[in-house]
């Protein structure tokens, strides 16, 4: 029973992980940028949701669309203003710039929000219900459902809508996309904005299940990276598998080895994957 409970907790956490990684994988696949500031945008989404909850008294789940919108605008602007300068440049330059961005965002967050830990605690925060003997925490379940729903939604958007198809076109053949009326710079900015908007929602959900402070970004970037490597960049469904896998692996590690070893487990998995199948387990990476 304990094992089942731990697996359930791992799956619930894994759904959220998948959503965190989704934006990173999307941007990586289309812009060929490994965005090292991805976690910093997750952190900003968490604070946006936190302030909407505490200052505007908005239910945190209702605050998510606003956090997403704010992060979309921010990401679009960052891409247009900064990243367009290095796009298609050497990988090293984009890593350096996004690393710098992460440092700046984290510094500003610490300046404006202080280094204090915060939690987003709606009245129903402690509510659980029982499912055949297992305890299902309501907030975690809602976060899971939203995360999986958004991931599937993105998948449908990329596959079936005109803008989604244009995004894939740019990532598959830049020359042909240009010849057939697509403006790559616009697509890059929209895609980066989508990536940060997804990060924003993931951050808001993270804040409802975990404590936040300005420094949470780095570890979350790293976890997103692990999941993108496992799941590949082609397909949001791969990211779901990668996220659930990581969530379960971390929960099992916490149970059998100890809660302080969960990060060791995720990076152990990364190293293993890179050794066994550097192109990603489920699909193309870079």
């Amino acid at each position: 029973m304990l094992l089942a409970q731990v697996l359930l907790n791992g799956l619930l956490l894994g759904g959220l992980y998948a959503l965190m990684a989704l934006g990173l994988a999307l941007v990586w696949g289309v812009l060929n940028i490994v965005n090292l500031s991805h976690g910093a945008f997750i952190m900003l989404g968490a604070y946006a949701t936190y302030f909407l909850f505490t200052q505007a008294h908005l239910d945190p789940f209702l605050a998510l669309p606003f956090a997403a919108l704010a992060l979309f605008v921010l990401g679009y602007a960052v891409q247009r203003g900064i990243l367009n300068l290095v796009i298609r440049g050497p990988m090293f330059n984009t890593l350096l710039i996004t690393f710098g961005l992460e440092v700046v965002i984290t510094f500003l967050a610490q300046l404006f929000f202080s280094a204090d830990f915060r939690t987003i605690n709606p009245v129903y925060a402690g509510t659980n219900f029982d499912l055949g003997g297992l305890t299902v925490p309501q907030v975690q379940l809602m976060a899971f459902a939203i995360a999986i729903g958004l991931t599937l939604g993105l998948w449908a958007f990329l596959l079936h809508s005109r803008p989604g198809r244009s995004i894939r076109a740019v990532s598959q053949n830049l020359l042909a996309a240009q010849l057939y009326g697509i403006e790559p710079r616009r697509i890059y900015a929209v895609t980066f904005g989508l990536g940060t908007a997804l990060a924003g929602v993931a951050g808001g959900l993270y804040g409802t299940v975990s404590q936040i402070n300005p420094y949470i970004g780095t570890a979350l970037t790293a976890k997103s990276f692990v999941i993108a490597i496992i799941g590949g960049l082609d397909n949001p469904l791969g990211v779901i598998v990668g996220g659930l896998f990581l969530g379960v692996a971390e929960s099992l590690t916490a149970l059998y080895i100890g809660p302080t070893y969960t990060d060791v487990a995720s990076f152990g998995i990364l190293v293993l994957v890179l050794i066994v199948k550097p192109t990603g387990l489920l699909g193309r990476t870079a």
Binding site: R162, R165, S166, R168, A169, Q172, N173, L175, A176, A177, Q178, L179, Y180, G181, I182, E183, D234
Partner: protein, 237 residues
């Protein structure tokens, strides 16, 4: 004769310091098939890249009266000037149908999309059978059909095709040329850039011969095909 659809006057272009095209001029009239032939490295692909604004250039180029100097690639596409690039450049990991859909202007209504798809499937029935297949998994001939069909999806006025015959069996080339003849009767103008001089001169109304970035001969295709100098240099006769 009516006004040209495409006029190129004194076009100069190149890559950085290296100039490739020198004061190149040519005209293409509505519903004509014009061949542009020349040996490797003559600058044919460079010309098409410049015309699609993928390269900076100088000179005077007009499409249907509009000066092209200030138009972005997507404006040109919207005006009805499309290109089938060298090497086909399909979206390899998308289905045939998605490739075709990407050949249309953004905002095209659903029923217009349907009609255009049906028209292209009518021109290339094999593509209808392969509509769900990934473009990258098809044979070279099928891929070239898909590339030409994608270019026709938007109902363009001018189609510029680069090296359509490269690597294809003669029957496949003949089938594609027949299709071009057919769409020409529907008002589509064709600029055919070819190394396969024989078939290009066979199907074209007029032709230009290009060498080292300059036009060296021009005239009715049948005259050029009979010209001893052209025969010696390009037809191996």
């Amino acid at each position: 004769m009516n006004a040209p659809l495409l006029t190129v006057k004194n076009l100069r272009a190149g890559y950085g310091e290296m100039q490739v095209l020198y004061d190149l001029s040519l005209d293409v009239h509505p519903a004509e098939i014009v061949a542009l032939v020349g040996s490797n490295g003559a600058g044919k692909t460079t010309l098409l890249r410049a015309l699609s604004h993928l390269l900076p250039w100088q000179g005077d180029v007009r499409f249907d009266g509009h000066s092209l100097q200030s138009l972005s690639p997507n404006r040109l596409f919207a005006l009805g000037m499309v290109q089938v690039p060298e090497g086909r450049q399909l979206f390899d990991r998308m289905s045939v149908e998605e490739n075709l859909l990407l050949g249309t202007l953004a905002g095209t209504a659903r029923d217009a999309l349907r009609r255009n798809l049906e028209r292209c499937y009518g021109l290339f029935p094999i593509l209808a059978k392969r509509r769900k297949q990934l473009a990258g998994n098809m044979s070279g001939g099928e891929q070239q059909m898909c590339a030409v069909a994608r270019a026709l999806m938007s109902g363009p006025r001018l189609v510029m095709i680069d090296e359509m015959s490269l690597g294809l069996a003669p029957v496949a080339v003949d089938a594609l040329l027949d299709t071009l003849r057919l769409v020409r009767t529907q008002g589509v103008t064709v600029l055919l850039v070819e190394q396969d001089v024989h078939s290009a001169l066979h199907v074209a109304d007029r032709a230009y011969v290009m060498e080292s970035g300059r036009i060296v001969r021009e005239g009715p295709a049948s005259e050029l095909a009979d010209d001893p100098e052209v025969q010696r240099a390009y037809l191996g006769l």
